[in-house]
């Protein structure tokens, strides 16, 4: 007998980021990123989050919605995330008013958008951090604004649909100590950021069949992604207080960007010509001396 289970709604917040892969990324001669010439793509951590949502679809038949805030071209990130997750609903929050937002103001727009999605959200996923901004703040800040408990660095999760709870494993890295895998249980709804090492595992035949079916469907959907796409400006989104988004809603500003001055030398390097065989032989001796030193720490 088939047990009737309540539906599960999951959302993913994603970001369009510089594409750091070969042939797409361009660096300036000083080692900094050339943003103008670097192509854009769905951020790698966003892709992992979309994968976690796809797991919920395959395993629990979840409905998936994806959202992003950005310029009109950011719909590329939504399309790419739909291809991964077979999403039913794509949201783009695009308005000049949103430009220049820091993470707090971004979280306000994303929170408002998530509340406009079809169905009441049970889980919202985000990536670990963006590969360009790298703050990792937008996820937890959106969680707090939604009033959802926040679970960071999740490497594995499963849902109990009857009890409406999620069990998740988190990887905690303690600098100078060790790593800890912590298992937690939380009633839904919950906000999860996915650790980069996350890999969904499909164990049963029926899961694998569902996986293939949804993957095929995702290809068709992503090819026609505009059918699923809803674009909102600030007014359409229903932002109650416009001073909470964009520049007015951002406590922080980037005051300036400067080159990090070269610090004082911490070591005094002996210069060795790489083509001088005798010098190389001496370096090897030095290496071996270093390696054979007693470890007294």
């Amino acid at each position: 007998m088939k047990i009737m289970t309540p539906p599960l709604n999951v959302a993913v917040i994603v970001k369009l980021e510089p594409d750091f892969s070969e042939g797409n990324v361009t660096y300036n001669s000083d080692g900094t990123l050339n943003r103008a010439e670097t192509k854009s793509t769905l951020g790698p951590h966003s892709a992992v989050a979309a994968n976690a949502a796809f797991y919920a679809k395959v395993k629990y038949g979840a409905r998936v919605a994806i959202s992003t805030m950005g310029p009109p071209v950011a719909d590329l990130a939504l399309q790419q995330a739909q291809l991964i997750s077979n999403a039913e609903e794509l949201h783009l929050y695009s308005d000049r008013i949103f430009a220049g937002a820091d993470t707090l103001a971004t979280a306000e727009a994303l929170k408002t958008g998530i509340k406009k999605m079809e169905g009441k959200m049970d889980i919202v996923f985000s990536g670990h951090r963006a590969s360009d901004g790298e703050t990792g703040q937008t996820g937890p800040q959106t969680a707090w604004k939604l009033g959802f408990p926040f679970l960071g660095d999740v490497i594995d999760y499963d849902i109990n649909l009857e009890a409406r709870t999620v069990r998740a494993k988190r990887l905690i890295t303690l600098q100078g100590f060790y790593d800890i895998v912590e298992e937690v249980e939380v009633p839904l709804p919950v906000f999860i950021t996915i650790h980069p090492s996350y890999r969904p595992l499909f164990k049963t035949v029926s899961e694998r069949l569902a996986f293939e079916k949804y993957q095929k469907e995702a290809k068709v959907r992503a090819a026609n992604y505009k059918q699923y796409l809803k674009i909102f400006n600030a007014e359409q989104l229903g932002i109650a207080d416009l001073s909470l988004v964009g520049l007015p809603g951002s406590p922080t500003i980037v005051y300036k960007v400067e080159r990090i001055p070269k610090g004082k030398a911490n070591r005094n390097a002996e210069m060795v010509d790489g083509s001088d065989s005798e010098a190389i032989r001496k370096v090897v001796i030095k290496m071996q001396e270093a390696m054979s030193r007693m470890v007294i720490r």
Binding site: S21, A107, I253, N266, V272, A290
Partner: protein, 394 residues
């Protein structure tokens, strides 16, 4: 805003198994230096307040005073034994807004106290998330991954904050954040909106601090300070995340087990696949672990799947965005030496760099700089190593 609304620097401490973790002491050291300068500059007496939550934490409170705190505010409860974002965010925010605690720290201006002036968190897997949620609750701004801090009065002209007019901001925390390349500093400021149309006060000015960049103070048992207990107000819903188990795991890549580490960076770019193979061969001769610089973890080159999934991963990254290492011998191959990378290797005994560019910053951070292309130098090193008998095995 009156002078008393926002006072003191609150430092959110982290500990594990009854010990303060290193970054906590580093934050206290920097907090002490910053507030000593602040008090001198502004002839004031604002305090460094360490905040710690946990169970049976009383014994580490003393230690925080000896490492630079004027006051320690602690909350002790079995419910706070392990970090839970929801619970900790509630308690830290309560502490940050508590007038009574502020009065115990300093009678002066305590009636008008609203929130701390500044707040520090650790940029690690606990503090990064905690700072994010606390600052939403406190409705203010946060800069992450900071490695330089100063306080100054500055004039700002900003389209929104000042309606395009130059305006004076006092006692602003200047928060410097290195970008992912490690060559640029972004100066981030958290500023009140002084524009009459959108007037709003943004305090505390908060940041998360990269582990390993600031020096802790010398332990000084004669330093005095005061320890204050706080009794948190928690509802059942604040405790709805249940911890079922906690298990210590070793990273798959455990750098601490190796005496030698060979790392590579973007210098492999000429022929990434072949160069990584060469580095593998070299590392094998030295019985070394292989690390990478941060840009490599972003998979910048097309290489075989094996290379991609073995090496181009965050778990291999050495530096402030990854792991700190301290081997007997560290060999940096094709790594330019961004400060984030250097911060992760500075405890190494001997550092050897292989790089064709003698102007690369790594030159000032190594003991031997071999000028040359890795394609030419590494085969020579391997050849000499193979000739050595017996092989030195660790």
């Amino acid at each position: 805003m009156t002078e008393g609304d926002y006072r003191h620097l609150y430092v959110v401490m982290e500990h594990e198994e009854g010990k303060l973790i290193p970054v906590s002491l580093e934050m206290l050291g920097e907090a002490r230096r910053l507030m000593d300068n602040f008090n001198k500059k502004y002839s004031s007496e604002e305090k460094v307040v360490a905040v710690v939550l946990g169970h049976n934490v009383k014994k580490i409170c003393e230690e925080m005073i000896h490492y630079g705190a004027d006051y320690v505010i602690y909350a002790d409860s079995p419910e706070l034994e392990y970090f839970r974002n929801l619970t900790f965010t509630k308690v830290i925010s309560q502490i940050a807004r508590d007038k009574d605690l502020a009065r115990k720290v300093s009678e002066e201006y305590s009636k008008t106290f609203k929130k701390p002036r500044y707040m520090f968190f650790a940029a690690d897997s606990v503090g990064r998330h905690l700072s994010s949620t606390v600052l939403v609750e406190l409705e203010s701004g946060l800069a992450s991954d900071i490695n330089k801090l100063t306080v100054d009065d500055i004039e700002v002209t900003h389209q929104h904050k000042t309606a395009g007019k130059p305006m004076k901001y006092n006692k602003i925390l200047e928060m410097y954040r290195p970008d992912f390349s490690g060559f640029l500093w972004t100066l981030i400021l958290c500023l009140d909106n002084k524009n009459p149309a959108i007037e709003r006060e943004y305090h505390p000015q908060a940041c998360s601090i990269i582990p390993g960049v600031f020096e802790p103070l010398e332990y000084n048992a004669s330093r005095i300070g005061e320890i204050i207990e706080y009794h948190p107000k928690l509802e059942p819903e604040d405790l709805r995340v249940k911890i079922l188990s906690r298990n210590i795991v070793k990273s798959e890549i455990d750098f601490s087990r190796y005496k030698v580490i060979v790392s590579f960076g973007r210098g492999i770019k000429e022929s990434p696949e072949e160069n990584i193979k060469l580095i593998e061969e070299f590392a094998k001769e030295l019985d070394a672990a292989i690390g990478v610089s941060l840009p490599i973890s972003k998979k910048p080159y097309s290489v075989s799947e094996r290379m991609k999934f073995t090496y181009m991963i965050p778990d291999r990254v050495i530096g402030t965005s990854g792991r700190k290492v301290a081997p007997l011998l560290y060999v940096a191959v094709g790594i330019s030496g961004a400060m984030q990378h250097i911060a992760g290797i500075k405890e190494s005994d001997v550092v050897i760099a292989i790089n064709p560019d003698e102007n690369a910053p790594i030159k000032d951070e190594c003991d031997v700089f071999i000028k040359g292309r890795m394609e030419d130098v590494i085969p020579k090193l391997i050849e000499v190593l193979r000739k050595q008998h017996p092989k030195i095995r660790t």
